[in-house]
Structure formats: structure tokens, C-alpha cells
Amino acid sequence: MHLDAATLLQQLINGLSQGGIYALIALGYTMVYGIIELINFAHGDVYTLGTFFSLAVLSLLGVTGVVSGPMLVVVVAAAIVVAMLLCGLTGVLIERLAYRRLRNAPKLAPLITAIGMSFILENLMLYWRGPSPVPFPQVVPNPELALGAVTVQAKQIMVVLLAVVLMLLLQSFVANTRLGKAMRATAQDKDAAQLMGIDINTTIALTFLIGSALAGAAGFVSGVYYGSTWFFNGFAAGLKAFTAAVLGGIGNIAGAMLGGFLIGLIEALTTQFIGDQWSNVLVFSILVIVLIFRPSGILGESLPAKV
């Protein structure tokens, strides 16, 4: 098998941008786990909902192709803000209806409930948009930058940048704001936090709001990046993102992003060197190995200050 440096570099770019999408989804997974130790399986489906919500906004605005000039900012902002808002509300609603009452139940109960929520969301989307992939308009201009033999698409840069920026924003929010402090306290000890006057219901709802809003942003980005989505898309993506969160250290915000990028890279390189059908095998083998030797993930479990 011949291999030139350009192809390898191109695969690294492919892997990073695919990893960026995983990272954006993994942020929400890891936040929810960090605070209530629940693996929110419905999170991947909230991400797909984000794509459909932003698609609905674009159809309302009558956007079918590339938008340029100042209108681009308006259109993208509208699509992304509405998707984040609606997804955030969906997350809060799910928490209120399905998880809150089970907060003190055995761990298995909310876990199964989460799987159930995932099925409910998938079938609602199936009912809403049908079973086939739905095309997503190419809103953002996508100039290709040729760096020697390697081509980088503008949308690939957008995915990676957005993942990094949102991760940094999230981390500074958790570390520096009052609400972030409340989240960390709740994560450490719910009862003690409540005794200290923290409204833990609001704090947990806020976590779901932010995590699901991030999934909404990821949904919009994925629509632009892939040009289509379908109702079941969140299942596979959610599973990979969850793996990313565990790989990086579940509950750890920087770890989720690291895990996402790593999985994207592993997939791309497996496809290049071994074969496409082995990418899942390799991703999950590496997960098993990491968990055996470092059960708390690469960067370790816990939110930044949950020492």
C-alpha cells in the first residue's frame, strides 16, 4: 500500500473535523454525567433534533443555498440560536419529566429511562421528517484552501474552531461564574450543596439546558458539514460521543474534547491503513485498553475543581 504525505495529512484533517463533531456532542454528555452521574442516552437524539430545528429555521427564512454578505451572519445566528434554544428546552423538559423523579432511585432506573427517551425522540423525528436522509442546504460559503496537495474546506475549519471555542467558554463558565460554582458544588455533594442554599433542581436543569444547547449547536454544524441528516443519525454519533467522553475522562470538559478528536483521528487512520469496517472495532478496543489501564480516562474523571 503506497502512501504519500499529502494523503496522510488529508486524513488527519478529515479525522479532526469528524472528531470536532463528536467533541461538541461529548461536551453535553460529560456535563450531565459530571453532575448527576447519569449517562443521558437521549443526548445523541437531541443533537439530531438540533439539525432538524435549524433546518426548520432555514426553510422558514426561505434559505436553500449559500448566503453571502451580512445576511449570512443573520441567517447563521438565527439558525444556531433557535436550534440551541429549542434543544436546551428539550433537554430541560426531558430532565423535568423523566429524570428528576428518579434522581434518588437505583442507578439503573434513570439509565433505562434515558434509553427509553432516546427511542421516543427517534420515533418523533421519524414521524416528523420521515425515514430518509433529509438534505440540508449549504448555507455557509465553502471555499477550499489548497495547501500544496492538501485541501482544507472552510467548513472543516469551522467545525474544529467551534468545538475548541465552545469548550473554552464552557470551561471558563464552570470555573468562574456563580452558577458554575453551584454546578461544581452540586456535582461534589448534592445534599451539602442544598444545605449551603444552592437550589439543586435549578442547577441541574441549567446543566441540561447548557448541555442540550451545545448539542443543538453541534446539530446545526453537522447539518452544514454533511449536507444531510436522518432521524436515526444521533444513535451512532451519540454512541461515539459517549465513548469520547469516557475516553477523555467522563465529567471532564477538556477530556471530552480530547476524546472526540482522538476518536475522529483513530477512525480516519483505521480507514486509511486497515479498512473502513474495522474503525468501530479499533475505537472500542482502544476504549477497553484505556479503561483497563486508566479507568478514569486519559485526563481523569471529575470537573476541574472536583478534586
Partner: protein, 429 residues
Amino acid sequence: MRSPSLSRTAGAAVLAAMLAACSSTSSTSTTSATSATGAPSDAASAVPAASGATIKIGMDFPLSGQDAAVGRPSANGALLAIEQANAAGFAGGKYTLSAVILDDTVQGKHDPAAGAQNVKTLIADPSVLAMVGPYNSNVAKAEIPLTNDAELVQISPANTNDGLTTGDDAKKLRTAHPDVNSYFRVCTRDSRQGLALAQFARKLGWHKVYVIDDNETYGKGLADVFDPSFQKLGGTVLGHDHITANQQDFKALLTKIKAQHPDAVFYGGDVSTGGALLREQMADVGMSATPFMGGDGIGTSEFLKVAGPMANQTYYSIAAPDAAKLPSASAFVAAYRKRFGSDIGAYSANSYTAAKIEIAAIEKAIAANGGKMPTRADVRNEVAATKGFASPIGTIGFDADGDTTAPILTLKKVQDGKPITYDQLVLKT
């Protein structure tokens, strides 16, 4: 109409109700379509001998997923044959035929377990004497052991995997009655389809091809025939990769393929397992000018919709004749149009023929049984003995394996967003 149903039973019921609603508008129609739950519909029934017993013909097709685009026209073809038989006084008016139409879709995709469950439902009803379907080869794999056990004759209009009828694979499926075959098909096999596609690819002047399949019974089977055939004909296969279910990102795979500069990419698989997304993303890695080829799995309107402008420069085969161009099928094409208000699908004529063969076999079995209700084995034996049967898709018979003795293949090319018939081949058996 799109009815993405929450459960396949509901989907089948909706379809049956829809069909029944349509049939009541036609005064000549005498079918009493039966819903999945067994409740007879209110379709206007003008059968003179309404007191006669009902004989049911079961169907199993994907009716609500992405495959519905091909599954529904297939079910319609068989339904039309049943309605016509009733109108023409089936078995001297002593019996009434009715259709039981079931859906094997789960979560928008054809599902072997759902197909098997449907066949169990059909077998449990003693008045079901024959069935048409399924559409997908992996679904057939799950169903054949059941129909073999019950000796219920099953004719598929569209399954092309070799292992369903020939070789050790087929023997393993006939578990209950190893020496008896209850499964037949009116389309050709992948060994012939794959070979014809390889010849076609060489004729188009392609030297180097990259092969991808979806790791399913049908897709992998087709690719595994195409791959060596293309090499035997002097071409080079640069590589052979398998994609996995629910995959969304093919950029890494396509980047790897692009670096080897193939003349074309061959895909063995369906649209629901990634065919259209794969084609669409070829634009992202700068492979817009590279042609794409596949089997009948990508020959659907779904492919055109999802792949968009990238659908052009795609070549595929259909394991059926282009009925719209056959003089022998003109009456069927017109009747279908009148009945369903739309053009036939790629496998409608095959389904129609499958049902016709079964209806003729049931009639013969009734006659041989002195007018009494025949057994399923009687009907199966009559179907197996079919020879020189005049149908819209030509004169058909079955060989010892259950394969058609008149395999025909249509080659299509997508141009300006529309498929055009490129060539029609009568294959050697």
C-alpha cells in the same frame, strides 16, 4: 403517501386501508384487501359467489422505510394480479382471493426479524396458501426456513443473492425439508448481475475500479461477484472496503480511494445502508467527475433525492426487464397506471408475475383436488412445475433450484437527474 409508522403493523394497516380506499373507487375491482390485523376492509365487493371460501395470498415487503420507494410498487403489482383474478372469476367463482399485505420495516429500514415475524403470522392463518416477497435478500434468509417448514410457497420478485437458491447456503436454509424447495424467484441472481455489471464496466472503458460494499447479504454478495469478474475481464480492482451500518462520514474512505485515482467506484449495497450518502460525499473530496456504479439496490428514487446533483454519472442494473419498454407488458403497465395512478416501479411487473404464477398454481391445485381447498404442499408442487408461463416479463419457468429460466437484466444510467435505460440483456442460464 408517506406514513413513517411507529410500528410496522400500524404501517401495514394504514397501507391496506389506503389500498382498500383506492379499490372502492374502481367498479371492476373485487378485491377485499385484508389489513394486518385481519379485519376485512369495507372495499366494495362485487363478487357474485360471495359465499365461497376465501383463499389468501400473503405479501411481505418494506412499506414504510427508505425501501418503501421500491417495496410499495412491488406490493401493488401483486395486488393487481389478485384483483384481476377475482374480476375474471377465479376458480369458477367458487373461491375469492384476498391479499394480506405486511410490512417488514423497523426504524425506517428493512428488518430480517420483522420479516420472519410476518411470515409466522401468514403461516398461522390456514387460508394463506402462497406468498409474494420479500424484497431484500437478508430478509429472505430469515424467512426461507419458515416457509420451507410450513411448505408455504414463496416467490420473490427481487431477491438476487445466490445463496438463497444455490449451493450449500441454500441447503442450510431448507432445514425442515432439505429435499423440498418452497422458495422461488422470477428475477436473476447476483452471480449473473455482478458478472453483467463487470462486463458493462469494462465496456465503458474502465480499467481501475475501487469496490465498496455494505457488509449485508445482498451487497457483499454482489460485490464479491463483481470484484473477481472485473479482474478476470482484464480490469484492476484497487481495493475492496466494507462500510458499516448507520455510518454518516465517508470522507476518510473516499480520501483513501481518491489517492489511488480509480476510473470508477463500485458499490454493492442499498440506499438505506449508505449508498446515496457515499455518492453525495464524493463531491466533498473532489471526486465529482468519477463515475459510480452499483446493483439494483441503488436503483431507486431515494438515491436520486439524497445524492442530488451527484446522482449523475451513476450506472446501475435492475434484475428485471424494463417493463415499460416490453410489448408483452404494455397491458400490465396500462392496468397498473389506471389502478394506482402512478407508473410502475422497477419490480412491479416481477411481483405481478409472481402472483400470477401462484394464482394459476392454486387454480390447478383446486381442480386437481376436485374443487376442494388444496393444501399448501399441493400449491407448492404446482408452482415448482411451472413451465412456459406467459407473463409480461416473458415466458417463465423454474429450474430445480427455484430460479427463473428466463433471466433478464436492465442497465440504467442517471443523466440530468433522471435514470435512462442504457441496455437490456437476456442472460444465459
